[in-house]
């Protein structure tokens, strides 16, 4: 029954979007993190999604989404000359994270909308299945 697969598909969508929300929350929380060296600086993270098309044997391909991995932004980190800062290095520099707060906010909105869409799909499928169970009564 195809409708049962929708719970898996919508569920994979929800978990992928909630992981995206997680990374966004992590990025926003670290938006003002500073460090003493470029290597230790927090870099914005984002998940990479890919489609799951592994049930070709069923005849037609469709499937959920999976998270392939989490990549760190390669944008340059901002250095600031601030010798009085407790984290300043020998040259007096501190390094700010490369999180773009506005982009992260937009990302958060997009993730939460996509999550809601998947919830809606699962809800509708549940109603359809319940209606199907009552068939002929």
């Amino acid at each position: 029954m195809s409708l049962f697969n929708i719970f898996d598909i919508a569920g994979s969508g929800m978990s992928a979007q909630s992981l995206r929300l997680n990374t966004t929350a992590s990025n926003l929380a670290n938006a003002n993190s500073v460090s003493s060296s470029v290597d230790q600086t927090y870099r914005a993270r984002s998940p990479v999604f890919s489609a799951v098309l592994d049930n070709a044997q069923q005849g037609y391909q469709q499937g959920g989404v999976k998270v392939n991995g989490i990549v760190e932004s390669q944008a340059p980190v901002r250095a600031e000359y601030n010798p009085s800062h407790p984290m300043a290095n020998a040259d007096g520099y501190i390094f700010h994270s490369n999180v773009d707060s506005i982009a992260e906010m937009a990302n958060m909105m997009s993730a939460s909308r996509s999550y809601q869409n998947n919830v809606e799909i699962a809800n509708t499928s549940k109603q359809l299945l319940l209606r199907t169970l009552q068939l002929g009564q």
């Binding site: 995206r20 890919s50 037609y60």
Partner: protein, 134 residues
């Protein structure tokens, strides 16, 4: 007069099956709304129904090797009914899912599924009336 379920239920059983497959495909599109290079797909209901009515569920591809993917009974992959959607607005990451369109199509499909269910329900009620003879 013998009661034949296939002829009594008519086209509605095929309609319900294709509607549920379409719902699955649309859900898959929605789940992959943010996947780079994912191409949205949909079932052309008219041609899927035509194929169901003629008793042909797939394009009828012959398998000549054990590793060939067989088109199973509900095999729609090889069927011309599953088609890629033409994007209204292309996105840079190659994704062609438009969430609004998918959402609207899913709702439409859900209502039509329920309509088919109502028809089927009516058929069953008629059969029950015929059986009871009241």
């Amino acid at each position: 007069m013998p009661i034949n379920f296939d002829s009594a239920l008519g086209i509605h059983q095929d309609a319900v099956r294709i509607r549920s497959q379409r719902a699955e495909l649309l859900a898959s599109n929605m789940a992959n709304a943010d996947t780079p290079n994912y191409k949205a797909r949909d079932i052309d209901f008219a041609s899927a129904m035509k194929m169901a009515a003629s008793g042909q569920n797939s394009a009828g591809i012959k398998t000549t090797h054990s590793n060939h993917i067989t088109s199973s009974s509900n095999g729609l992959m090889a069927s011309p009914a599953v088609q890629y959607r033409t994007a209204m607005q292309d996105s840079l990451d190659g994704n062609t899912v438009d969430e609004q369109i998918e959402q609207a199509q899913f709702m439409q499909n859900a209502v039509q599924y329920q309509a088919s269910l109502s028809f089927l329900s009516g058929k069953f009620k008629s059969l029950l009336t015929a059986i009871k003879g009241e």
